[in-house]
């Protein structure tokens, strides 16, 4: 699957690029699911010896590309069972690395967003990390009313998993929370329940 095209939207909505190798001395790759394909492309035309300066952290998910990624021969290859389980490890890597390590984030918006948030907490500017979106468009949504986070939202509207309000999922995004903002859609008349459509497959 090639990298995603997204509809142009408000400025807050993150836009993603295409991973491209830099002259960095070390490379830290973080990917999930179909994002593995972006790493395969990154290695595609790499000069000999590139792999020995690369560390890959991968969350297989539904589109497991572990075997192909492992075959790249990176200096370190690690898999985690979930994006959330991977984050503490990423946080330690960000802390330990030196400036001049290139960071690549590829896969779902949740993986990219959470890894970027972790990098920002270590002091990296969000623009310092390369990104490429692949695979699911499922969103991490913060309810602006109760502040609870609902993972893997694929419908519009969506129900807050914490307070139960029916939310309009906006393109308004918070890098600090790594979440799109969800706003109650039927505050005037809670009996008016709009049908849910699958819009973030």
């Amino acid at each position: 699957m090639s990298h995603s095209r997204m509809e142009p939207s408000i400025r807050s909505r993150p836009v993603y690029g295409t991973l491209s190798r830099t002259t960095a001395a070390a490379h830290l790759c973080i990917a999930d699911g179909a994002g593995g394909g972006a790493l395969l492309d990154l290695f595609g035309s790499a000069p000999e010896g590139f792999a020995q300066h690369v560390e890959i952290n991968y969350v297989p998910g539904d589109e497991n590309m572990s075997d192909a990624l492992k075959a790249l021969g990176a200096a370190r290859f690690h898999t985690s069972p979930s994006v959330h389980a991977l984050m503490p490890r990423i946080a330690r890597q960000f802390e330990r690395m030196r400036m001049g390590t290139q960071v690549y984030l590829a896969g779902s918006e949740t993986l990219i967003g959470l890894a970027m948030k972790t990098g920002m907490e270590a002091g990296l500017d969000f623009e310092a990390m390369q990104t490429e979106h692949r695979g699911t468009l499922a969103r991490r949504v913060q309810c602006v009313h109760c502040k609870g986070i609902t993972e893997n939202v694929t419908t519009q509207p969506a129900t807050c998993s914490h307070c139960g309000l029916l939310l309009l999922v906006r393109d308004h995004y918070s890098r600090r929370h790594a979440a799109f903002q969800g706003v109650n859609i039927n505050a005037e008349d809670p009996s008016e329940v709009a049908p849910k459509e699958e819009v973030f497959p």
Partner: protein, 320 residues
């Protein structure tokens, strides 16, 4: 009275000879009130009435942002310059009334940074004086590398040494000591921001090293005020104003436009901020761009010029 936008009337409260090339000027407000608050890395524009010539030159504030009773600038005497520093060195004395602009900051600290790496060359130390004073109070990890010709010219080494202790590294040309840029930039913790100020070759070398080591652009900051070098006199036609203005040998285009009574926009007066960008309607000679604002493509198109630093060989028609 000054014609600077929102100028502040000040009195020169002291002039201190720091060494054979550098003098430090202290200003307080003429009405005794506090000066505006500023942040580390800010500069002010000083207005100088040098005979018939009006000069406005930017200088970094080198004093603590926490002291708004006393602004300080440290000025290196530049015998090959257009005369601003010579005027300051030779004609400005304690008690004189002068006008300065409000402070503006084109070289501010990124307060999110867990560490600030600063590289200074010569008089390029001045913005780091205010920045390190700010960080000494607000907290923040600093590593400062300061290259200077000799110990005598190493203005503020002692003061910085007290402020920074082992985080200050001094390199003296006279001892053939050089910053090892690749080593310094190659061993910095995640999130470090780089700040560079000094002579152009030193800035270029530092930026080259940073790019080669794949430092992200968002973590790299530098300040290079283009020197408004003297040049051949030339004529500009200001189409909107219907005026023809001569630009003298030691005058900038912007100064000539201001002398003609026109209120033109500017901020840095050093070719970096973009504020004074002006449309070129036509020209019959070569445009001599010396700014750091226009892109190569814009220069090639020949439709814009930065009158604070750039010049023209021949006659130039501007939309102003």
């Amino acid at each position: 009275m000054s014609s600077l936008h929102g100028a502040i009337d000040v009195v020169v409260s002291d002039v201190v000879t720091v060494n054979e090339l550098i003098k430090r000027f202290h200003f307080k407000r003429a009405d005794g009130k506090p000066l505006p608050a500023f942040s580390g890395g800010s500069h002010i524009v000083i207005e100088m009435q040098d005979g018939d010539t009006l000069r406005r030159t930017p200088y970094s504030l080198s004093s603590s942002p926490f002291d708004t009773d006393d602004y300080q600038v440290s000025i290196r005497r530049d015998d090959a310059g257009r005369g601003g520093s010579l005027y300051m060195h030779e004609s400005v004395e304690p008690g004189m009334a002068m006008s300065i602009s409000h402070p503006a900051n084109l070289f501010s600290l990124d307060k999110r940074a867990p560490k600030h790496l600063m590289l200074a060359g010569g008089i390029g130390i001045t913005p780091f004086m205010s920045q390190t004073a700010q960080l000494a109070r607000t907290g923040g990890k600093v590593e400062l590398h300061y290259g200077v010709r000799n110990r005598e010219l190493g203005a503020y080494v002692d003061e910085l040494s007290v402020r920074l202790g082992p985080d200050l590294h001094v390199y003296l040309d006279e001892n053939a000591e050089r910053m090892d840029l690749d080593r310094i930039l190659g061993n910095q913790p995640t999130g470090t921001h780089l700040y560079v100020c000094g002579p152009e070759p030193m800035i270029e070398a530092a930026l080259d090293s940073a790019r080669r080591l794949a430092w992200p652009q968002a973590h790299i900051h530098h300040e290079l005020f283009a020197r408004t070098a003297p040049g051949e006199p030339f004529t500009i036609e200001l189409q909107d104003s219907g005026l023809s203005v001569e630009v003298g040998e030691t005058q900038s285009m912007l100064e000539a436009i201001e002398n003609a009574g026109i209120d033109a926009p500017y901020l840095c007066r050093g070719g970096v901020c973009g504020q004074c960008e002006t449309r070129v309607l036509s020209h019959d000679g070569e445009l001599l761009h010396t700014d750091h604002w226009l892109s190569d493509a814009e220069r090639a198109a020949g439709e814009k010029i930065m009158p604070c630093v750039s010049r023209c060989r021949g006659t130039l028609v501007l939309e102003r």
